[in-house]
């Protein structure tokens, strides 16, 4: 992929030109400390549209002021990307309306930028008490409800600050990045093969998607093609991942309305899928299958039949379970018209995946930027327009059917392992970069990798589906009553681990 090189002060105007009135949308934005290569910091912007990606690379000379023109006033999707760049690199987006901290919390001192190359990964960082203001509404009768980071259920950590007037949510501010593990910094210098284990462990529920995105970024850089059987097996596990997520998430949505029968059936069917995953790959989260250069293991024809039989049974049960929701007026009353995300807001925020498709945005990386064997598979992309909890639920149900059909095609057309299962990664030209992407159960996962000397990682960037979607939760919640927030949150079903890294 080529990047058009520009100066940092032209970033906003050039981004507008690339966008060409909405034909291309900002889909990722990140910085890189390239001072040891060319004396500069760089800010990369990746735009997606019309089936291709376009890249901008804004250069900041490290001798000059470390500033660039903010994209946020024109591209709201850039708001969090720029705050993160500001936190981790100390590059200042001029004109950004909200430069509060994002990734680093109160405990981090001012003026230390951990993703710069002159910050040693294991450097001792003193405790600090830097302000981290939350947005709240003031006025007669308005009160605040703070929730988290430790929640009542078995959920990942995040802090939510509701401004309430009675039961109505007036405003919601989210403080996230509690599980920030510094994965991008931690892999710098690691060999490609070892970094793959960490890529696979960014998130449990998106393990396969992350592993595929990472592997494809590496394979693009190395100019290699993996064996056909490996492509089929990758897509097989990717669709199995989507299946267990969607089935489990639909069950969890029932928990949001207290519908116990739905919870039980959803979690039971998910368990059957997790057990299938374990029989297939040795790990219930399908870990260990996708590796850079191919896959680690093959499946036997007998096992193909076992998969098909398991899924055939599951398909019937799933239809019955969905029937319990479709016919249930008490359930429909809770999910219809709850937590509406307008198409306009979804476009502005660059929302992806199920959340985008539920708000009338017809996008799916598997079709629009077809990778691996998705071009050969017949499938449709379900789209709804109401943008509410119900729409996100029905989209998942439709996608379960599509995934089941895709898996059937994969098992029938699998070419066999005579062409091998993996190819070796050759020495990659130092300081070349590659972009890999895949569509997880939550939306597009983009990984950008730059290698240094001897196939070691120089810079690793992960833009998960949850990244553009989290701000949408705070947009969809106001106007609803606070007891509906868990339901709205579950309908987006975002990963904290994916976002925080």
């Amino acid at each position: 992929m080529e990047y058009q090189e520009i100066t940092a002060r032209d970033l906003a105007s050039q981004a507008k030109a690339v966008c060409s009135d909405g034909k291309f949308n900002l889909t990722a934005m990140f910085a890189n400390d390239e001072r040891s290569i060319n004396g500069c910091f760089a800010i990369y912007c990746i735009f997606a549209g019309e089936g291709i990606f376009k890249g901008l690379k804004a250069v900041l000379n490290s001798e000059e002021r470390l500033e660039f023109s903010s994209l946020t006033p024109c591209f709201p999707a850039a708001a969090w990307y720029e705050r993160e760049i500001h936190d981790l690199f100390g590059l200042v987006p001029i004109g950004h309306p909200d430069l509060r901290r994002l990734v680093l919390h109160e405990n981090w001192p001012l003026g230390l930028y951990p993703l710069r190359k002159d910050f040693a990964v294991d450097m001792h960082v003193p405790e600090a008490n830097t302000p981290y203001p939350m947005v709240s509404v003031h006025g007669a009768g308005v009160f605040e409800v703070p929730v988290g980071p430790i929640h009542a259920g078995i959920i990942e950590p995040g802090h939510f600050r509701f401004s309430q007037s009675g039961e109505q949510i007036i405003n919601l501010d989210a403080k996230l990045f509690f599980t920030h593990r510094g994965i991008e910094k931690g892999v710098e210098g690691l060999p490609i093969e070892l970094a793959a284990y960490r890529a696979e462990r960014i998130c449990g529920a998106c393990s396969v998607s992350h592993a595929i995105s990472y592997a494809q970024a590496i394979e693009t850089m190395a100019h290699i093609h993996i064996p056909p059987q490996a492509e089929y097996l990758r897509v097989l596990v990717a669709e199995l991942e989507r299946l267990y997520n969607h089935v489990g998430d639909i069950g969890n949505l029932c928990a949001g309305v207290g519908f116990a029968v739905g919870i039980s059936h959803g979690s039971r069917l998910k368990e059957l899928l997790m057990r299938l995953n374990e029989r297939l790959t040795g790990n219930r989260f399908l870990r260990g299958m996708v590796i850079p250069g191919g896959v680690s293991q093959d499946i036997s024809p007998d096992f193909s039949r076992e998969i098909q039989n398991t899924l055939d049974n599951l398909a019937d049960e799933f239809v019955e379970m969905m029937g319990l929701l479709h016919d249930n007026s008490a359930f429909l009353d809770r999910v219809n018209r709850t937590g509406i995300l307008s198409r306009h807001a979804a476009l502005d925020l660059g929302v992806v995946g199920v959340a985008a498709r539920a708000s009338g945005i017809d996008s799916d990386m598997r079709r629009d930027h077809a990778y691996s064997i998705y071009k050969k598979l017949k499938f449709t992309v379900p789209v709804q327009t109401s943008g509410d909890v119900a729409a996100r639920l029905w989209i998942r149900a439709d996608e379960v059917e599509q995934s089941l059909q895709m898996i059937r095609q994969i098992l029938e057309e699998m070419p066999g392992s005579q062409g091998g299962l993996k190819v070796d990664i050759p020495q990659i030209k130092p300081y070349s970069s590659g972009l890999g992407w895949s569509e997880s159960a939550r939306g597009s996962n983009l990984h950008w990798v730059m290698v240094g000397e001897n196939n070691g990682i120089y810079r690793y960037v992960v833009r998960s589906a949850s990244y553009p979607n989290w701000p949408a939760v705070t947009v969809a919640s106001p106007g609803n009553i606070i007891p509906d927030f868990p339901l709205i949150n579950k309908s987006f079903e975002l990963c904290y681990a994916c976002l925080d890294r």
Binding site: V121, V125, G186, R201, A205, S207, V261, S264, E271
Partner: protein, 242 residues
């Protein structure tokens, strides 16, 4: 309504007894080594992504708390002497529960907590895989409540903390405050390789390390993530109910 009742009746009881589910042949469990023909190449220790293998003189020790069960050592062993067995029962006791016989403290804790155990979950930086497996314990197949164990919403109602993830800088305060809020006597379980070893993501500015670097840990459950039966094994081991 009639459809709901029909579905419930036709599905029947799906709950399994502990140890009821089969372990598939492909499962990557305990790392087992046959030292007899080790060629002493030490490749296993070098290729391990989490530095879980330590070689001291003639002996190779696998620290299962740090193992992510990826199979890399098995693939790289020149003498082909390393394999994954199907054993997932790898939980170990430590701290106040470690001494099985005669330890008054352990007995006292089990007297108090042994009949029913209430658990609060704390995610201190997990990838959510361990969290989902904990959640699976409440599904109708494992039905955790059949053992007198349940998850509770507040640490003040809890006897035990189940901690998932490597302790991040941003969750340190939450872990310490939650631990503090649990009434005595209390026990802590470190769930999965991140919590038990802190080595999965290496060292970085954003992580503090394993859970036992901040609070005392009484049970370690290896796995990446531990399968639900491995968690059950750890819980029943702690309650002395096996």
């Amino acid at each position: 309504m009639i459809n709901i009742l029909k579905k419930i009746i036709y599905t029947g009881i799906v709950t399994e007894k502990y140890d009821g589910g089969q372990v598939p042949a492909s499962f990557r469990g305990e790392v087992v080594v046959d030292n007899k023909v080790c060629s002493d190449c030490q490749v296993c220790a070098m290729v391990c992504p989490t530095k879980a293998i330590i070689i001291t003189g003639q002996e190779m020790i696998v620290n299962h708390n740090a193992c992510i069960f990826c199979g890399r050592c098995v693939q790289h062993c020149e003498a082909q002497q390393i394999r994954h067995s199907d054993n997932y029962k790898l939980a170990t006791l430590s701290g106040s529960l470690a001494d099985h016989t005669g330890n008054l403290l352990a007995e006292r804790i089990r007297d108090i907590l042994g009949r029913s155990l209430h658990i609060r979950h704390v995610d201190v930086g997990s990838c959510n895989a361990c969290d989902f497996e904990m959640g699976a314990l409440s599904n109708p197949i494992y039905d955790l409540q059949q053992y007198g164990i349940d998850f509770v919403p507040s640490p003040r109602h809890a006897d035990m903390l189940m901690v998932t993830g490597v302790v991040t800088r941003n969750l340190t305060q939450a872990l310490l405050m939650t631990y503090e809020a649990v009434p005595n006597p209390k026990i802590v379980m470190a769930v999965g390789a991140c919590a038990a070893s802190g080595q999965v993501f290496g060292s970085s500015y954003a992580v503090r390390g394993a859970v036992d670097e901040l609070v005392p840990v009484d049970i370690y459950v290896p796995g990446c993530p531990p399968r639900p039966q491995a968690l059950l094994y750890g819980l029943l081991l702690a309650m002395d109910k096996l």
